[in-house]
């Protein structure tokens, strides 16, 4: 009888606690400080030397994104207006960047208004609004870092970003459209922080692109270098108004990356199908790409 009475008390208490768990937590983690990228991880090639030409693998690109990438000629970046083009928010955390994070709090009651992020790559300043303000209009301008709002989910900061410019899912390979939405999670484990991003792009992706990067807290925050000077110059002769691109079937670099790494051509062209474990069976049936002869 006594047990039954206890159970009677414990069950409602348990459910009350469960219900409270659904409410956003108030006690959150402190993310402030200067963070260095862990560039020795699996994302090293993308963070430092950059991807090879036509290295689309690991990206759930749709056919449209793939066609855009195959038509892309790297010399387009030498057009003056492209030279100082910034990596958009869905890509910039894979830069060789440092970032400084700090909080903006109300002067009177110290409630959290925003979390600011300064990213050294391309000198980007980013505000993650924590005050529940409404999102901009469909007619509002888009920016490299977009418009971000954040919520705490337990000790994880979850950020949703809209209104981003056109940029890259993978630089000089696959485009990210200006209709992308990015959901990020900042998770701190002691002096290490994991950044996870989920990008949805109705124009160039067939499934969400999920990535992660790790950062280490810097002991001396005064080492932060916020500068990324970029001034465009004329890089050789270009015909005014010309835009470098390949016609269909004329990109000479399609097979180079695949052949260098003894991979079938198909897998290097990305797509959601190539990202699932069962694709390994299909890969075994595909011929390895051959190095282009010219």
């Amino acid at each position: 009888m006594r047990i039954a009475r206890r159970v009677k008390l414990v069950v409602p208490l348990f459910f009350a606690l469960m219900l409270l768990a659904g409410v956003p937590a108030f006690a959150q983690l402190d993310l402030t400080g200067v963070w260095n990228p862990r560039t020795g991880d699996e994302d090293n090639p993308e963070r430092l030397q950059g991807p090879s030409l036509v290295e689309f693998l690991g990206i759930p690109a749709n056919d449209q994104g793939r066609q855009w990438g195959l038509a892309y000629k790297s010399s387009r970046l030498s057009l003056p207006e492209h030279e100082c083009q910034v990596h958009v928010v869905e890509y910039i955390h894979r830069g060789p960047m440092q970032m400084r994070i700090w909080e903006v709090r109300d002067e009177v009651d110290h409630h959290l208004i925003a979390i600011r992020e300064t990213i050294s790559t391309y000198e980007q300043e980013r505000t993650i609004w924590m005050d529940g303000r409404p999102r901009p209009s469909v007619y509002a301008p888009h920016t490299w870092m977009g418009f971000s709002t954040g919520v705490w989910e337990g000790n994880m900061l979850t950020v949703t970003t809209t209104h981003i410019k056109q940029g890259w899912h993978r630089r000089e390979n696959l485009p990210a459209s200006d209709e992308s939405t990015v959901i990020e999670h900042f998770i701190r484990h002691g002096d290490t922080m994991t950044h996870v991003s989920v990008t949805e792009d109705p124009v160039f992706l067939e499934e969400p692109l999920i990535k992660s990067e790790d950062f280490n807290l810097v002991a001396n925050p005064n080492t932060f270098n916020p500068f990324w000077p970029c001034e465009y110059i004329e890089e050789g002769e270009t015909i005014p108004g010309a835009v470098p691109s390949y016609f269909a079937g004329e990109n000479p670099w399609v097979a180079e990356y695949a052949a260098t790494h003894n991979l079938p051509q198909e897998v290097t062209l990305g797509g959601a199908m190539t990202m699932y474990p069962e694709y390994r069976q299909r890969m075994k049936t595909l011929p390895v790409a051959k190095m282009p002869t010219n």
């Binding site: 009888m1 039954a4 159970v7 009677k8 069950v11 409602p12 348990f14 459910f15 469960m18 219900l19 659904g22 056919d63 449209q64 994104g65 066609q67 855009w68 038509a71 387009r76 207006e81 492209h82 100082c84 083009q85 910034v86 391309y122 000198e123 999102r135 209009s137 469909v138 007619y139 509002a140 301008p141 888009h142 920016t143 490299w144 977009g146 709002t149 949703t160 809209t162 209104h163 981003i164 410019k165 056109q166 459209s177 200006d178 209709e179 992308s180 939405t181 949805e200 109705p202 124009v203 160039f204 990324w228 970029c230 005014p240 108004g241 010309a242 835009v243 691109s245 016609f247 269909a248």
Partner: protein, 339 residues
């Protein structure tokens, strides 16, 4: 004892069900926040349900969006200057939106192009306006707003005729040649001709102190640029206009901000947005030109799969009134037209 335990278990299970339902509701309540997509206007819009949204651009310039084509408003001590006037059936809402920005008279209206959704509201808006220093008995000029456009627009309107375009939309003030200069609300306003772009009479309007350019339909954030071949439009005219805009625009920092652009439709933009649009139009033009150089016919070009616009169609090919096929056809016709 057994009954009590049974009751506890029942209550517990009910609680689990309640919790599951609550969890589902919580998940359902999580707003699915996504970047709003740039959508072209519907083919037969229900104007009674359409609302105008007003956004500050920068300086003295505001965007009125949702009245058809985008409308730019310059508001200041001198009065109101409008670039384009939206659709005819939205004119009451347009005027109400203008009045929220300024009680001063509409002094000047400028057309960027010929399309109904840019010129349709001009009749009532001109009559609601007042010319600087004019009035009854002053030179016999009616006391209404001045209406300015490239000569090409007046010529096209007269050719099309008043049965289709009422004469109160015809611009009494025209300019020919490269540009016309105004000074309004303490800033220079330059109207630059964009020859043979969307039509034979397009213009861009550059507010030099506010650092805003109204592009008209040569730059459209919801669609491929319309090319009205019948009325003098050409793809190379569009590209010349886009490249001219790239010369004018100056980004503030690393290709962002600075000179702001009000496109014919869709969101406020800057140089990088324009750059991607220019790149796209150039690449598609080059593909058609390359096919023409290989003696491909229009039918053969249209049959190529994936098509010449394929990678851009999910972003710019959604306009049922201006499909990718129509865009390709217009490019082909303008590139193969006899000079």
């Amino acid at each position: 004892m057994k009954r009590t335990l049974l009751r506890v278990i029942t209550v517990g299970l009910a609680g689990v069900a309640l919790l599951a339902a609550y969890g589902t509701i919580l998940l359902a309540q999580q707003p699915q926040i996504r970047t709003p997509r740039q959508t072209p206007p519907p083919v037969n819009p229900d104007y009674s349900r359409m609302e105008i949204e007003t956004l500050p651009v920068q300086g003295k310039i505001f965007l009125l969006a949702g009245a058809g084509g985008n409308i730019a408003v310059q508001a200041g001590d001198d009065g109101v200057l409008l670039v384009d006037t939206g659709a005819e059936k939205m004119v009451d809402k347009t005027l109400a939106a203008i009045r929220k920005l300024s009680p001063k008279p509409i002094r000047t209206i400028i057309y960027t192009t010929l399309a109904d959704d840019h010129t349709g509201g001009s009749g009532p808006l001109v009559k609601a306006g007042s010319v600087n220093q004019a009035g009854p008995g002053l030179g016999g000029r009616p006391n209404e707003a001045d209406l300015i456009a490239n000569t090409g627009i007046l010529r096209l309107m007269t050719e099309i005729g008043e049965a289709k375009i009422p004469t109160d939309r015809w611009p009494p003030s025209t300019f020919h040649g490269k540009q016309k200069d105004l000074y309004s609300n303490d800033e220079p306003v330059v109207i630059e001709a964009v020859p043979n772009a969307v039509t034979a009479g397009d213009s861009i309007v550059w507010f030099r102190k506010s650092d805003v350019v109204v592009t008209g339909e040569i730059f459209n954030q919801t669609s491929y640029p319309f090319i009205d071949i019948e009325h003098g439009g050409t793809i190379n005219g569009i590209l010349a206009g886009l490249n001219r805009l790239l010369e004018i625009t100056v980004p503030k920092h690393l290709q962002e901000g600075g000179t702001m652009l009000i496109p014919g439709h869709g969101r406020i933009s800057d140089e990088h947005d324009l750059l991607e649009y220019r790149d796209m139009c150039t690449i598609i033009r080059d593909r058609v030109q390359n096919a023409i150089s290989k003696n491909m016919t229009l039918a053969q070009i249209k049959a190529v799969k994936p098509g010449f616009t394929y990678e851009y169609d999910l972003r710019f090919g959604k306009n049922p009134a201006w499909t990718p096929d129509q865009f390709i056809e217009a490019i082909y016709k303008s590139l193969t037209a006899r000079k």
